[in-house]
């Protein structure tokens, strides 16, 4: 029985230590906002924060998550969708199908946490999540808008 800290709560998980964190979140903790897209850390749909850093949970085994690590999922980013990134996304109608957007939002929020005023080049370097609907132009605008709000 592993103990992990998810969204500020210590939870016990009865899963094999090799189980990726993504599937622990989705299948054991019913936190399905974190998405499966590739399973090989190539698409970013599974992005969560671990100790404030964006990480791809699909390749991170449960055994590698320490009980002192703070895991934050989209469900824990804010209580009511009021994180500046979520607000900017709502304002600009960023999502299309929306499937990749929870991972995209988590990646954007982590970027802004360490770089409150990212340039376009910073965004290009840090945001590598795949969106097949092609929302990138609004994602970029959303990050800039959220950066403005934070300031």
């Amino acid at each position: 029985m592993a103990k992990i800290n998810v969204n500020g709560k210590i939870v016990e998980v009865n899963a094999d230590g090799a189980t990726p964190l993504l599937w622990v979140l989705r299948e054991h903790l019913e936190l399905t906002g974190t998405k499966y897209g590739c399973g090989v850390a190539a698409c970013g749909a599974c992005t969560v924060h671990i100790n404030g850093e964006a990480q791809r949970s699909c390749v991170l085994p449960l055994s590698a998550v320490k009980s002192t690590d703070r895991v934050v999922t989209i469900e824990g980013l804010s209580e009511d969708g009021s994180h500046p990134v979520q607000k900017a996304w709502l304002d600009l109608d960023v999502p299309q199908c929306g499937y990749c957007q929870t991972g995209m939002i988590m990646a954007a929020a982590a970027l802004l946490a360490k770089n409150p005023k990212p340039t376009d080049a910073d965004i290009d370097a840090e945001i590598s999540n795949i969106c097949r609907c092609g929302t990138y132009q609004r994602v970029r605008a959303g990050i800039h808008q959220a950066a403005g709000r934070k300031a």
């Binding site: 090989v40 979520q86 960023v94 970029r140």
Partner: protein, 702 residues
């Protein structure tokens, strides 16, 4: 059967079936009809498209699927416009294909492909809104004892002009629901629109920002188990045998079974357990007839068609071959377009629960009616005993469109049949998804043209060789063997007409079908045909020593709407003025899915031959534009999809197998690759064009 009569009659009013059947028809409530049917017997349904609750909430029914393209919001805007309701009180619900069957097709088509969600249903959904409005007004007038013609509705409030009395939709909704649905309604002139035609925010955004949005992959039912599947390693392969002895004893595993003669599934408590156990199943395959085919073999097979004597003729004006032969200057170019995968971000999945009496399936589909038929067949039940619970799609792009490629739904039912009463969620891994697609067909195209002394085109021959989607998945729709879809954007007339007049023209198709399953794909044949034609127009302009814009316009005299979008992008992009150093401009335009689109791109090529796209100026004339900001979003997205295919993605074949198994090898555009897109939405009115796909066609050639 008073109420039932009313319900069924409404079905016919909306334009389905023969009225003679009405009296004998009963709605079998409780037969698995889902939310729509539940609503149908309630007093708050007005027309089939609208329910109004006593608390003023307006529920607008949606038949088409939402997969990101914004159709759900656009359709709701059209209904709300005629209804004259308060937009802030609007919610939506999907209607069920089973309920549609039982109500004789009251909601008409659910098909959400070919950019048709709005352009083929705008009239009857608006009529549904208008009918409901008239019923609400009639109920209010009746209550007041006044003439309905003296009353009007706006923002959910009904006002009696002469007295100034007011009431609200919610207060009269129950009385209105008892009234007959009017047979004739008057639709508003689009110039008077206040909700439609405006850049309203999408109705489905909030839950997509918090993780609350439930996609098919997120479905959770009491007692549900999870299935992982390994399918045929190449198209045409069959399952020979499998040894599950090791897998069966692994943690959480419930069952290991063969599916459909060409796959093995493991069912376990969690999907991760199922997938882990599946990796431990030793499977033997019969590779079938295609195991020695590589990409080079397919390319050679398609290339042979470029010179083949026999070909289907899609468009013919005069005698192009003769005109080219006697021209002083002859130009020729050959292009090709590879297999592409849809690569929806949400992999294929479906959740099914089956008993001998009924079957319920939760799945993302672009065609809920096709899904129902597919599920009923797999379940061995009449469709009236089956239910499709419709989910928002995590991407569609055609992969979840045609009935014959709902293989994931069939498999889920087959697995569920082995465990009666237990809900089973089947999820394909990304690797299974990538290698069992319905691929953008592979084609090559040779264009030959003659130029006269003035640099004018004497004749053009467009020879397409390659795969037919219809032959691959819907052979019944071939006409005397010919696949009309192959000629998108090169046809003599219609939604996909060629937008040039040439003195002599021949467009023909030598069908060559490799073994990979083809499928409709965002913009599909429009996509490569416009790349072929517009790239060649640039070649011809160069050979003629003429400006590519002026050269095109010479042949576009009869196509003012194409001219308008093309000139708009040229002007906005600064065509004719010097581009930044090292940057080149390109143009393209077409008519596709009944819309007129154009693009002008600014690109540079690095020393290493890498193409970098800096800026794209796009213009779209959809006739009526229901939501301009969502049209912009679709145009922006189209460039991502089209350019991913043009510059990055390609599915190659080795030993009959698709080589790219995941996003690490099937590269697609990311934010760093995204050019700046400036979109002009310029609706000229008078027609309804599609939005999701047309721009794909001009993305790459520009």
């Amino acid at each position: 059967m008073t109420k039932m009569d009313n319900v069924s009659r409404r079905g016919f009013l909306a334009g389905a079936g023969a009225a003679g059947l009405v009296l004998g028809f009963r709605v079998p409530l409780g037969g698995g009809g889902g939310a729509a049917l539940a609503g149908a017997g309630h007093t708050d349904e007005l027309s089939a498209w609208v329910m109004v609750r006593p608390d003023e909430q307006v529920v607008i029914r949606i038949a088409r699927s939402e997969m990101g393209q914004g159709t759900l919001t656009g359709l709701a805007q059209l209904v709300a416009e005629e209804l004259e309701c308060d937009w802030s009180r609007v919610t939506t619900e999907y209607v069920s294909p089973t309920a549609n069957l039982k109500r004789f097709g009251v909601w008409k088509s659910f098909q959400t492909t070919g950019s048709r969600g709005i352009r083929t249903s705008h009239d009857y959904v608006r009529e549904g809104g208008a009918a409901a409005r008239d019923m609400l007004i009639a109920a209010a007038a009746k209550g007041w004892g006044v003439n309905a013609s003296e009353c009007r509705a706006a923002k959910g409030v009904i006002t009696h002009g002469p007295s100034g009395k007011t009431t609200t939709f919610g207060k009269v909704a129950a009385a209105a629901a008892k009234l007959p649905v009017p047979e004739k309604v008057k639709l508003k002139d689009p110039k008077d629109w206040t909700i439609a035609g405006k850049p309203m925010k999408r109705l489905d955004t909030a839950d997509k920002l918090t993780g609350k949005q439930v996609f098919g992959i997120d479905v959770k039912l009491p007692g549900m188990v999870n299935a992982a599947i390994r399918q045929y390693p190449l198209f045409g392969a069959k399952l020979k045998s499998f040894d599950a002895s090791k897998a069966q004893s692994m943690s959480g595993v419930k069952k290991v079974l063969a599916v459909g003669g060409n796959a093995v599934a493991v069912v376990a408590d969690t999907w991760w357990q199922a997938k882990t156990a599946l990796d431990a199943v030793d499977i033997q395959w019969d590779d079938g007839p295609h195991a020695k085919i590589d990409s080079a073999d397919i390319a050679a097979m398609v290339r042979e068609g470029l010179d083949a004597k026999d070909a289907f003729v899609g468009n013919k004006v005069g005698d192009a071959k003769a005109a080219i032969a006697k021209s002083p200057k002859r130009i020729e170019a050959t292009y090709s377009y590879p297999f592409q995968h849809h690569a929806t971000m949400e992999p294929m999945n479906a959740t099914a629960v089956w008993t001998p009496e009924k079957c319920e399936v939760w799945c993302p589909t672009q065609s809920a009616e096709s899904a129902l038929q597919v599920v009923a067949k797999a379940a061995g039940l009449d469709p009236s005993f089956c239910t499709i619970h419709r989910m928002h799609l995590g991407g569609g792009f055609g992969r979840r469109g045609a009935g014959p490629i709902h293989d994931y739904a069939t498999q889920a039912v087959e697995i569920a049949k082995a465990m009666p009463g237990t809900p089973v969620k089947l999820l394909w891994s990304r690797e299974e998804d990538m290698t069992h697609g319905a691929y953008h067909p592979v084609t090559q195209c040779r264009l030959s043209a003659g130029l006269d002394e003035n640099g004018d085109i004497t004749g053009l021959h467009v020879r397409i060789s390659g795969q037919s989607i219809l032959a691959g998945i819907m052979p019944g729709r071939l006409k005397n063997g010919m696949d009309i879809v192959t000629f998108q954007c090169l046809l003599p007339k219609g939604d996909h007409a060629i937008s040039y007049d040439f003195p002599n023209l021949l467009v023909d198709h030598a069908m060559r079908n490799p073994h990979l399953r083809p499928g409709f794909w965002r913009g599909v044949n429009a996509n490569h045909n416009v790349i072929y034609l517009e790239s060649f127009m640039d070649e011809l302009a160069k050979a003629a020593g003429q400006d590519p814009l002026a050269f095109r316009l010479k042949y576009m005299a009869k196509y003012p709407k194409n001219q308008a979008v093309l000139k708009a992008v040229a002007e906005k992009a600064g065509w004719g003025t010097p581009a930044p150093k090292g940057v080149f401009r390109g143009l393209a335009h077409c008519k596709a899915f009944a819309s007129y689109v154009a693009a002008c791109a600014e690109v540079s090529v690095s020393d290493g031959g890498m193409v970098k796209i800096h800026r794209i100026v796009a213009a779209t004339d959809t006739g009526h534009a229901v939501n301009p900001q969502q049209i912009e979003a679709q145009v922006e997205g189209s460039f991502v999809y089209g350019l991913s295919a043009m510059l990055m993605g390609e599915c190659t074949v080795k030993a009959g197998r698709v080589e790219q198994q995941n996003f690490d090898r099937y590269e697609v555009m990311r934010i760093k690759d995204m050019p700046k897109v400036e979109t002009t939405v310029m609706p000229s009115g008078g027609f309804w064009g599609g939005v999701g796909e047309p721009t794909i066609a001009v993305a790459a050639p520009a």
